[in-house]
Symmetry: C2
Subunit: 334 residues, 2 copies
């Protein structure tokens, strides 16, 4: 590992061994639906509550990732995961059954990027041979926790995003595969003062901009050097703001800048600004981006997980919404 | 780093550069009160809400740890921290002001041990030069989130614990100091089926036992080899259960086995089974154990952070309480 500024370069890369994405009914009907490893027919995954359904989805994603690599849980040094639920219960209860040493994370919707960054750093540094990185969210468990019970039928403004019912799991290992993790930048918290919790994209855009700016500085590269620059879940509002911030720097992001929140659902699915939730970037990564890297359709990707580190309590107490963004560089077709 | 089983041995140790503990009024009146770096006169720390008070306490602990080492935030590669509040807002909002790359954790009351494990692994592996590890809790913010509003005056059974109003912060670095981090074991989740959320000690005892058992196996050592074996916040009930589990193995823990939950408050302070909360083990470590290691009064300590990975939602849905324990070996008087 070699550090420059806030960025670490894995001169000996860490490798993606397998990945899996599990989603709900709406996610199955979206443009990436056919690429999920499993789609639940009714968002309940055979469980009695939304929280247990989210836990079940996380268990399924881990099981798919492990079985695709033909790896037993005993061969995983540690799992790194989290979710949006209070006290991260869906990850913890999923891990209860798996029996792998578990390091719980809370990075809001940046959790998958945080997990990949830590998982790669732990392997590269010699702490671990194999890590399992996990992030999930569920529309119904998130709505009742963050907003209103579904039965209330609350209206959503155009800037609101739709929490994805989805989970992604990624196995990282030391031995070569087709996809390398070659660099990572841990993000700082930025808070542009947005207090509207129905406008998360605006709250997180600055953190995505700052982490990307720092990464370009540290790596001596520019936006044109990448096949895909992919932010987590800024959706249309935040995606437009990041474009504006780079354009104002005289360094416009090209067509290769996309956002997971704009890829998960189609325009006819009525999700307003787009998708959000830990599961959004995790599932887009695992269903679409990693397979494209493995196949060589993508060569170099910056995966930038974005998170809004607020809670209903902080919002009710008048606090603005702190944003964070962690970046991981992925290289494919090796 | 050298791995055996679930345990990593830092053959080139990582070092504790400084630490700080900040506590509330009750903690100031306890047996460790005089050893805190700062005691708030009224648990509010000048803030309007309990959640903001907890955030302020975390800021103060970080500031004390940095200033005791004469280190600027810019010299910290990353901070690793968490707390018990929904979406870990006290840590996130404290980090917003500090401006250090931030990796949020959720390990419930095991957070300080999880942070030390990850912080040491990241330094040992070359990812970081200096990490700041942080964990906090606040009695009043925890009561209203997990139990009842304070005004309700709910009664507490004898097995209940008192969430500490406290925060600990530890700076780790690569260069030698008087205190070394020499090994760490990441814990698995164990769930003995306890459903009484007023009996966390019983829920977490098995995880402490299992992690210690695995560590003794991996290290080829036994309880008598340590000046102090310190669990996080099992309090009297859980502490007794861990003793029983080891006694049943024919390997009794001696007088050197203590629990942070039994050290923070005096018998006259009416906390029933003892203390709990992320801040409990973090503050006992920073106020008492690390200074004793630096002074050479302790030579070898196993610090075993314990966490109950439940939420009010999981409890209301009939789930039992999963426990986790992460272990860090500390050696002093170098």
């Amino acid at each position: 590992m070699r550090r420059r500024g806030d960025t670490v370069f894995f001169d000996e890369p860490v490798w993606v061994e397998s990945c899996a994405a599990v989603g709900g009914k709406k996610e199955g009907e979206g443009p990436l639906g056919a690429r999920f490893d499993e789609i639940g027919p009714d968002n309940r995954f055979g469980q009695k509550t939304w929280e247990k359904a989210e836990k079940r989805m996380a268990e399924l994603a881990c099981t798919h990732a492990l079985s695709k690599a033909d790896v037993s849980p005993a061969a995983v040094t540690c799992a790194l995961g989290g979710d949006l639920l209070n006290q991260c219960i869906s990850s913890a209860f999923a891990m209860r059954g798996l029996g792998v040493p578990y390091l719980g994370l809370y990075g809001a919707c940046s959790t998958m990027a945080e997990g990949l960054l830590l998982g790669a750093a732990l392997i590269s540094g010699g702490f671990a041979d194999r890590t399992l990185c996990l992030a999930s969210s569920h529309f119904c468990s998130a709505e009742r926790q963050y907003r209103y019970p579904l039965e209330y039928g609350g209206q959503r403004p155009p800037s609101a995003q739709w929490t994805a019912t989805a989970c992604g799991a990624v196995l990282l290992r030391r031995e070569k595969t087709k996809i390398a993790v070659t660099a990572a930048t841990a993000g700082r918290i930025y808070d542009p003062g947005v207090t509207d919790s129905a406008n998360m994209g605006a709250a997180m855009a600055q953190s995505a901009y700052e982490t990307l700016r720092i990464y370009f500085r540290d790596s001596g590269t520019s936006p044109g050097d990448y096949d895909l620059i992919l932010t987590g879940d800024l959706a249309t509002v935040g995606h437009g703001l990041v474009r504006q911030l780079f354009a104002a720097d005289g360094r416009p992001l090209g067509e290769n800048y996309r956002d997971c929140g704009m890829l998960l659902y189609g325009p006819e699915q009525d999700v307003h600004a787009g998708a959000s939730g830990c599961g959004c970037s995790a599932a887009v990564l695992c269903a679409d981006v990693l397979p494209a890297l493995a196949a060589g359709r993508l060569k170099t990707v910056l995966f930038c997980g974005t998170g809004a580190l607020m809670s209903p309590t902080s919002a009710n107490q008048g606090e603005s919404i702190p944003g964070i963004c962690h970046l991981v560089r992925l290289e494919g077709g090796r």
